[in-house]
Structures are given as C-alpha cells and as structure tokens.
C-alpha cells in the first residue's frame, strides 16, 4: 500500500512537470491557435541559459532564473518578430510546421554551444528529500508542484481579468474579428511568445532538476507532455494541470506495475500509454476534457 502511495506521489511529481510543460502549450494555443512544437527546445534553451548564468557567469540561482526568463522572453519576442509575424492569416498547419523547423534549428544551436554531455543544473533543491508519514518526497517535486500552481493561478487571473488576456482569447477565437474590433493581433502574438519563452524556462529548469540532469535530450520531454496538454484540452490551463497530473501518475504506475502484471506487453509501454490514453479521450471528447468546442460554419 505504501508502495502504491509512494508511486502515486512520484507520479504526481512527474505530472507537475508535465503540467508545467503543458501550460506552455496552452499559452501559445490560447493566443495563436497553434501548437508550439518548439516548446521543448525553448525549455532546453531556457534551462541551459540558467545553467550558463550560474556556472559561467557565477550568478546565484535566484538571480539566474529570472534573468534567464527575461532572456527567453526576448528570444520568444525575437522569434515572433522575425518569423511568425509574417505568418498572420496563414494556415495553422504552416505555422505549426514553422515551429517544427524552429525546434530543429534551436536544438542544434544548443548542442553546438553546449555539446551532448549532461550537466548538473545547480538548482538549490538538489537531491534533498523529506518524509511525510511513510512517503518519501523530493523537495524539488514540491517546488515543481508549487511552481505549477502559481503559474496556473497567474494564467487564470491573466486570461480572465486582464485586457491582454482577453485580447489573447479573442485573437485565438477569430483572428479577423479580433483585428476588426481593434485588437492589436501582432502585439498579442508577441506577448504570448514572450510568456511562452519565460514559462518554458521554468518548465525546463524543473525538468532538468533532480532526478534527471541537463542534456539535449531534455527537448524530447515536450513530446511526453503533449498528451497531457491534449487530454486536458489545448486551450484550458486547468486542463493542462489535470491532464499533466493524470498522465504523470498513470505513466509511473504503468512503469512500475506493467512488468509484473502484464510482461507480455514488452518494453517501454509507459511511453505509449500516455498516447493511447490521449487517443481514447479524444474519441470521446474531441477537444479534450476541458477544451472549448470549435464552432464551424460554411
């Protein structure tokens, strides 16, 4: 029983990271109606920036993280200004493919600059643990959950109450109509890419913190978090949290119990479980659990 509880808590910790990643997808989707395939690489770049600011520039973590977030916001702004601004009004899939192209370029830039060796991020939590009843918990997991909760709360308030947030939702809903009522669509895109850059840095840091380490393969973690964003519904921050936690728990449980209970399924089942679950959810609810149904007209 303690095992199950321990595993569930581990799953929730993993899920909190997925939720953080998924929140990044949601921000871009909510404003631009595009899935950002470069999100994994933004996380990678953000995490390496935090590493570089600490290990090479000698800044403390508490300074390095906000600084890296600021720099990544600038990167997001630059990407939007240089490339995506030209794509306003073009088919969604073209923009998605652009983010895929960007992902490839960004990853190679990171490996060219930092190489393939894995490094320790140097976050303040390290490998310290604490025990709650019989369940052991990494401090960094708690920090991850806290970060997801804070970001979620911020997004919730931002999208509901702020002018910019409402403008973002309006833009995603109908670009032309948003332009017609005077929403500066270009600026909305720039904001959302800046937010995405900063959010990606946070997600990247927690992804690279204990127990894993910082290496270029970090970018692929975004693919693990896709199902989380989809299950929850691409335009729902709450959905990202729920989806992330659910996928995290299920992945950890499958990884632990499948070799014992269903060895016939072979290896790396836990990787595909998330996708199978996602497909099952989509069959029942085509826009995810909390996503907004799109209205179609001729």
């Amino acid at each position: 029983m303690t095992d199950l509880l321990q595993l569930t808590v581990q799953g929730l910790a993993l899920g909190a990271v997925y939720a953080l990643v998924a929140l990044g997808f949601v921000v871009i989707y909510k404003a631009t109606a595009v899935i950002n395939f470069a999100h994994g690489e933004l996380m990678l770049l953000g995490a390496y920036l935090v590493y570089a600011l600490q290990a090479e520039a000698g800044l403390p973590f508490a300074v390095a993280l906000p600084a890296a977030m600021g720099l990544m916001a600038l990167v997001g702004f630059g990407i939007e200004r240089a490339i995506l601004r030209r794509m306003v009004g073009r088919p969604t899939f073209s923009v998605v493919m652009i983010t895929i192209g960007l992902a490839i370029v960004l990853r190679q830039m990171v490996t060219a600059a930092f190489g393939f060796d894995s490094r320790l991020l140097g976050d303040p939590w390290g490998s310290s643990q604490f025990a709650l009843a019989d369940v052991r918990l990494n401090v960094v997991s708690v920090a991850t959950m806290a970060a997801s909760a804070i970001l979620f709360a911020l997004f919730f308030v931002f999208f509901r109450t702020s002018r910019a947030g409402v403008a973002m939702r309006a833009t995603a809903f109908d670009q032309e109509a948003a332009l017609a009522v005077g929403i500066p669509v270009h600026r909305v895109y720039a904001w959302s890419w800046m937010i995405a850059g900063a959010t990606a840095t946070v997600a990247g840091v927690f992804l690279a913190a204990f127990p894993s380490s910082l290496s270029p393969s970090l970018g692929f973690a975004a693919f693990r978090a896709f199902p989380a964003a989809i299950v929850g519904g691409l335009d729902s921050p709450g959905g990202a949290i729920v989806g992330g936690l659910a996928i995290g728990v299920i992945e950890v449980l499958v990884q632990a119990y499948q070799p014992l209970l269903l060895p016939a399924l072979g290896t790396s089942v836990h990787v595909v479980t998330a996708y199978v679950l996602m497909i099952a959810v989509l069959m029942v609810r085509p826009y995810g659990l909390f996503g907004t149904k799109e209205v179609e007209r001729v």
């Binding site: 899939f93 652009i98 192209g101 960007l102 190679q108 799109e294």
Partner: protein
C-alpha cells in the same frame, strides 16, 4: 496550330495529362533521360536519385492526404515502417517474390490507413496531427516489441526485390548484363515512381480528387454539395498509407536493414518538409521536394570539408556535419513557409509564366 497555354475549349482538354505536342515531346525527352541516367552518372549520385524516387512515392502519398485533402498527418513514418516490415516478413521469412510483397505492403498500409480514418472523422486540424504523432510513437513501440517479425530494437534485414531467379537489386548477375546494384535498383524503382505519379495524377483530376480538394477547401460546403466526406477522408488516408507503405517496403529493400528508429518522428517531418518545399497540393512538386530534401544532406556532406567552421570529428560541442545539415533543414522549412508557401512548384510555375508571356511579363 497551338493555342495559348491555359485556353481550353473542352473540359477533358483541361484535365488531360498531356495537353499538347510540346508536353509529349518533353515527356519523351524525360523518358530518354531517365533511361540514360544510370549509365551516365556515378553510383553516389545514382543513390541520391534512387532515394529521391523512393521518397517521392511516399511524398506523393502524403501530398494526396495533406496537400489535396487537407488532413494533416505526422504519422507517415508509421506507414513506411509498416510497409518495410511487411516486405521483410513476406519477402524474407516467407520467401515470396516482390510481385507479392510490394502490393501486399501497400494493401496492409491502406488497411491501417482505413483504421486511422475514423479518427480523422472525429478530430480536426491540430488534434488530428497530434493523434498521428502518437501513431509514430505507437509504431516505434510495436516495431521494438514484435520481435518475431521486426527483429526488435536491433532491426532486421529486408530482402532484395526478386521474382524467381530475377533479382532487381542485381540485374547484372540475373541477366548477365554489366549492371551494378545502384544501376539495377534505379531501373527497378523509377518505373514504380512513374506508375505512382500517373496514378496520383489520375486520382486528383477525376472525381475522387475533386472530392478531396472540396473537403480541403471547405468541409461543410463539400458535404452540402454532396461529397461523402466520411468516405473520401477514409479513402484519402487509405490511399496515402498505401503509397507510404510501398515507399517503406522499397526503402527497406534498398537499404537492406531497418530498425524501429528508421521510422521515427523525424522521418515524418522529412516527408512533410518534402511536400512543403516541393509544393503542397501538386504531384510533381512532391518529386521536386523529395529530390531537394534528399539532395541537401549529400551536398552538405560534400561541401563541409571545405568549410572552416565545421568540426570534422563529429562529436561534442561545435558545428558538425550533422548539426549543419539539421540547421539547413530547419531553415529550409521555415524559409519556404515564410517566403514561398507554394514551394518549388510555385517557383517553377512563375518561371514558366514569365517566359511564356515574355516580353510582356509583369
């Protein structure tokens, strides 16, 4: 007496494959060039062209689905893998001739496509793209775990295309002619590409093709004018997967050995890049795009020793040939989408119009 291009008096003239004598002359010339190619260039470039021909078959398949029907798919690699392993099983384990395993691979791919079709009926746009992305991961899992068929993570060998004593990968030995492997395979693959091109052309200029395009342009409107959206979407998936599986079987047979990693997400992305670079919604653009995407890495390999900033050791930090290739690939995708969404086909069409209407080109 030739009329100006684009002026037709009958509908079947407009959709004809060869519209005038010039078209026929060009086609005959192209045929001569294709037959002469294996004897004119060395094995390195011949292998580029063989890869191009195989990739072009897959790219045409994806273009029928994404370019013509508007259904986005990142799962093309899965169908390629399905075709390759079908070829391996039927041709290798059961020892059947290519006349059996190549169509069988296509049919199995098409069946898998039919199974995916219903998802396309339920899901739209990006949600569909993500499901097809899931397909790639599912495929890698299946290919790694169905060891008796796929050989597991180490992969397995895929047989040469044979009919009885005739080995298409080694026409030299089979027929007693001075052909090596590259020449034989080129001569084997190109006719298949020609069939694939003509078949795709026939699909897109006839009723199903018009239905595909109607669905792409405005799905609800298409259903109102009487297009059976569900049926044609599933048909598009089946057709596209048929092409992909045939390409996969040929690819496997050409490279002789495949692993589950040969069919990962990057392969899917490469195929999408091919149709973007070549031209979305054109058949000949798929061939251009395939050539471009296959050619670039080879060119970079050739040129990179001359570039001072490329690190030849290929490990650790710094710009390696692989890094450079990937960056060029990424930049190509972005560049074409931003600057030339119609792809090479669009550039070609503009050039042609320019010279046709010369000196009044403005």
């Amino acid at each position: 007496m030739s009329r100006p291009a684009g002026l037709h008096t009958r509908y079947d003239e407009e959709i004809a494959l060869l519209r005038n004598r010039a078209d026929r002359i060009w086609l005959a010339l192209l045929a001569v060039i294709l037959v002469a190619t294996p004897f004119a260039i060395d094995d390195f470039w011949l292998s580029v062209l063989t890869f191009t021909a195989i990739s072009a078959i897959g790219a045409i398949g994806l273009n029928l689905l994404t370019g013509y029907t508007g259904q986005v798919s990142l799962g093309h690699a899965f169908f390629l893998g399905l075709g390759a392993y079908t070829a391996a099983y039927l041709g290798g384990d059961l020892g059947l001739p290519v006349l059996v395993w190549l169509p069988a691979a296509g049919i199995l791919g098409a069946l898998a496509g039919v199974l995916i079709g219903p998802f396309a009926l339920r899901l739209k746009g990006l949600y569909l793209a993500i499901v097809t992305l899931g397909l790639v991961f599912l495929g890698e899992y299946l290919f790694s775990n169905l060891r008796s068929i796929t050989g597991g993570p180490q992969g397995r060998a895929i047989p040469s295309p044979r009919i009885g004593g005739l080995n298409f990968a080694d026409l030299g030995a089979s027929l007693g002619l001075p052909f090596d492997r590259e020449q034989s395979f080129f001569l084997f693959v190109v006719p298949i590409l020609v069939v694939a091109v003509v078949a795709a052309k026939n699909v897109v200029r006839s009723r199903p093709g018009r239905a595909f395009q109607a669905i792409r342009d405005r799905e609800i409107a298409a259903s109102i004018i009487g297009v059976d959206v569900a049926r044609y979407k599933v048909a598009a998936f089946a057709l596209s997967s048929f092409y992909a599986a045939v390409a996969g079987a040929l690819l496997g047979s050409y490279v002789r050995h495949v692993t589950p990693g040969s069919f990962d997400l990057f392969v899917s992305i490469q195929f999408v890049a091919m149709i973007i670079v070549g031209g979305v919604g054109t058949v000949y653009g798929s061939v251009f795009g395939a050539l471009f995407i296959v050619l670039i890495p080879r060119l970079v390999e050739q040129v990179s020793p001359l570039l001072p900033f490329v690190d030849p050791s290929g490990s650790g930090a710094g710009v390696t040939v692989f890094t450079l290739n990937q960056i060029i690939f990424g930049v190509l995708i972005v560049g074409f989408l931003v600057a030339e969404p119609a792809g090479l086909a669009g550039i070609w069409a503009r050039l042609r119009t320019y010279f046709r209407s010369w000196p009044f080109s403005y």
